[in-house]
Symmetry: C2
Subunit: 310 residues, 2 copies
Amino acid sequence: MELQPHKQPNEQSLPKEESKDFAPLININGEILPAEQAKISVFDRGFLYGDSVYEVTRTYNNIPFLLEEHLERLWFSAQQISLNIPLSKKELTLEIKKTLKEVKFQNCYIRIIVTRGEGEIGLDPNLATKGNFILIVKEQKENPSWWYKKGVELIISNTLRNPVNSLDPNIKSGNYLNNLLAMIEAKKLGAFDAVMLNKEGYVTEGTTNNIWLVKGQNVFTPPLEVGILKGLTRTSLINICKQDQIPCFEESFLPEKLLDADEVFITSSTKEIVPVTKINGHKIADGEPGVISKKLLNSYRRFIVNSCYN
Amino acid sequence: MELQPHKQPNEQSLPKEESKDFAPLININGEILPAEQAKISVFDRGFLYGDSVYEVTRTYNNIPFLLEEHLERLWFSAQQISLNIPLSKKELTLEIKKTLKEVKFQNCYIRIIVTRGEGEIGLDPNLATKGNFILIVKEQKENPSWWYKKGVELIISNTLRNPVNSLDPNIKSGNYLNNLLAMIEAKKLGAFDAVMLNKEGYVTEGTTNNIWLVKGQNVFTPPLEVGILKGLTRTSLINICKQDQIPCFEESFLPEKLLDADEVFITSSTKEIVPVTKINGHKIADGEPGVISKKLLNSYRRFIVNSCYN
């Protein structure tokens, strides 16, 4: 049986002030605002230079999933670009909880953004005085069921992933044009997303997700050294493979190995585990979501249930 | 004689409402606002992803310098990331002039930003409906005279410039973390700015400027192929060299050639031509601004006078 921990409430159970409750709420430096009032200065360096770091998580059953791990990574990203986060992890957690209280949903999307703040225009980071934090909280709608039932199509993009010694993909920052260029290629070809390679030609990751393949009984995902984000769903899934006694390898591979795989899937906090059934117009195996992908999705959702529903 | 076309007005000639006139004015989609009211939505993709393009120019004698060329490049950058600019060049020029009219300065800094706009959060560019344009106009203060008299210090950064096949440095976008990481290195070492190399080890450019060296009577600057922005001051200066019969070569070179140069200088629209007298703590020649750099600055300022004051 497929668990569905993030099932939406049905129509009848919706609160009365429907539109208000569905609208996103934004917390800017502690002040909670509706979307239309949620604005930041054009002098904010997040706007001028993408000089910001961020995380995306979601709630299941009102509980922010893996929040500690997300905050840990936010602080890591900030440290990599010498950005001071203007509050402590404890304070930020309280701000998240304060904002969630105002939203009536069990399943929320949470985006946490911290910018270097405002100042005289100029690249010198010392021109900014104090960072700004922004929380965007909105309903996390259930992902389209066809993603899981039919699988999605990817392309291998011509845009190479940023190299580690230029802008490390392990920094989750406000600079997403590299990924966006790959996404634009995908959308032009009618695909769901793009897989990016590094300059040596190895597979790195999707534009906002990690990528995996199954060959025989073995699961493979690129190692951190190829230049990828250390995905939290990725880490969880490596552990789940261990528990489920599915051999899982962090190994570099070329795109040909994806095309020749028995199964391919992508992972992210909001997508969970989405099967990939086509790459560059080429069917993966029989073009149907594979059994190991499904098994792992079930195990992952059981992990969510154990974390948030017990 | 050193020309000073961007001389500040003296105290006596200042208009009465000093603070108001000194304050930046911001034009957001046609509406002119003071800085404290100039805000954009946190859902703007320029803020979320650095999904924007920009240009910086300045006025001399109330005339926006090389405006046509800047707009040409803005449209080029936008085209590279499939971003639709929501108005024509003519309309944008009128908006710039409209904003400049409200500012009482002869010498203004003008930042033109165009974002992909707002929409549902997600990397897919089709989620945004209509772009936003933002003009930031403020006083262009005279650059510190020591830059030109003493020269500035650079470092060779460990952060490599983004490769062309990841995010082309010739796209002037809202993604500046790569350059910012190099700038952070420079500031930690007390330097003015950083020179970035490409992955082959060749010199590319400064974080927001082009770089040049003089050896004997010859001037060298990296060619576009190493992965740099096609600077407008760079183009102007190549032409000036021709007119002044100074041999000028667009040639790849290693950082050693900078250290061993007779003169080094950097160029940008707002910096004009700034001599570099130290790199990585090592004096360039005798550690004083060189004669060819000075000669070129005079020729460049004469070019400005001819363009904007006649």
